[in-house]
């Protein structure tokens, strides 16, 4: 897992630099490239329409939010 170097952290009260430091980088958010549905009902309806099976990622909390 990639980590930030201490040198990356901005000094003082630059809120934009702090936000940039805290927010995930593109290499940390590739999982968002998957077109996740958020409700099994919707996924099953789309599965009927497309003829594809459903892939469910189930975690405590919510895998797409705080987990």
């Amino acid at each position: 897992m990639a980590t930030h170097a201490s040198a990356d952290i901005p000094p003082g009260d630059d809120h934009r630099a702090l936000i940039e430091y805290i927010r995930p980088r593109p290499d940390e958010t590739r999982w968002r490239e998957i077109p996740w549905q958020t409700d099994i009902r919707d996924a099953c309806r789309i599965a009927v329409e497309t003829g594809k099976p459903v892939f469910l990622w189930a975690m405590n909390g919510n895998p797409l939010g705080c987990t």
Binding site: D13, I40, L56, A58, C66
Partner: protein, 342 residues
């Protein structure tokens, strides 16, 4: 959350999930208990999977499952190894292609709509919150983990952040229900996992304010400032040894940021806010046992997008029970809408 950066960032998994399946992500702990057709459907699927029938050390059914829309189980796994995950997905596709030795559909089929509350404030203010440890003063490295959550404010609450007169220098104290919501449910240490909500008594200090710093046509630029101190003794009984665990926990932070309010559209077109300070202690599920602090942590709040995944409810907010059941099981990690919105 390790799965995000291991399995679900792997190009093969992204391709398989996106092209060969209909991918969906949901809260396992909710589905395990949900008393409706969706809960029954979920339990039919997962009881045929990797944790089927298991009750010890936990009864969790977390993991990845493949199935047909009628609930016919194909394959499952709980792994952060991309190769093992890809193997499971290919096994599911092979079973489907062979169309033999498949199990039974779920006896309970999904209704078109369920009792889940649609509380998403489409015309309000939805923020994506990211939490991450900040560099330690002594140079101790952090583990790089981060986590996200969503903050929901109604349209009226969003408007209430703006001073009544939009002239440079005008100032407004943010109302207590909003300060309380941010403090109890969003200024938490969820870097490594799910924390308890803060109790009301944990809010030792809380003030947030906005000030107009620029006006350009309908665009009103606001500065956000504030400070929140949270501290409480948290206890729980550990299921593994039956012992009561007690920890002093806290987060003492300052808040700063900037936002753009479009007075014509009556909506925020930009929102950047960060809470920075020291956190300490641990909860049952946020895995800070080896890192009790105090140590610096930051939470960044920005406008969320509009994709389905960015409509994910705030972690603490129970939307998945019928209204009459939402307050039945008060929990330290989840609250009913009335308690969230105040």
């Amino acid at each position: 959350m390790t799965g995000r950066e291991s399995v679900f960032s792997d190009p093969t998994i992204i391709q398989l999930a996106s092209e060969r399946f209909v991918p969906v992500a949901e809260n396992s702990s909710a589905l395990e208990r949900q008393a409706d057709d969706k809960g029954e459907f979920f339990r039919h699927v997962v009881e045929q999977g990797h944790y089927g029938g298991r009750t010890f050390p936990t009864a969790t059914r977390q993991g990845s499952y493949t199935f047909l829309p009628d609930g016919t189980f194909l394959a499952s796994i709980n792994s952060v190894d991309p190769e093992r995950m890809a193997g499971m997905m290919r096994e599911a596709l092979a079973r489907l292609e062979r169309a033999d030795d498949l199990g039974e559909p779920s006896p309970v089929q999904l209704a078109e709509a369920g009792p889940d509350a649609d509380l998403y404030p489409a015309d309000g203010l939805v923020l994506e919150a990211t939490v991450r440890d900040l560099p330690r003063p002594d140079g101790t490295p952090t583990d790089g983990k981060w986590n996200i959550d969503y903050v929901w404010l109604t349209r009226d609450e969003a408007r209430s952040l703006v001073p009544e007169r939009v002239s440079v220098g005008e100032h407004r104290e943010i109302s207590w229900p909003i300060v309380r919501r941010l403090a109890r449910f969003h200024l938490r240490d969820y870097v490594r996992g799910e924390p308890f909500n803060w109790s009301e008594r944990a809010i030792r200090h809380g003030e947030l304010a906005t000030e107009v710093v620029d006006v350009s046509g309908a665009q009103v630029c606001l500065r956000l400032t504030g400070a929140v101190r949270l501290q409480d003794e948290v206890e729980w009984v550990a299921p593994e040894d039956g012992e009561t665990k007690r920890y002093d926990c806290g987060f003492d932070c300052t808040v700063q940021g900037e936002a753009i309010w479009d007075a014509g559209q009556e909506e925020f077109t930009a929102f950047e806010m960060v809470a920075v300070g020291d956190r300490w202690g641990t909860n049952q599920y946020n895995f800070r046992y080896d890192d009790l602090g105090p140590a610096p942590m930051g939470i960044a709040f920005v406008l969320a997008g509009r994709s389905p995944s960015e409509r994910t409810a705030p972690h603490c907010l129970v939307t998945w029970r019928p209204p009459e059941q939402r307050a039945r099981r008060p929990s330290r990690v989840s609250v009913a809408p009335d308690e969230y919105f105040g």
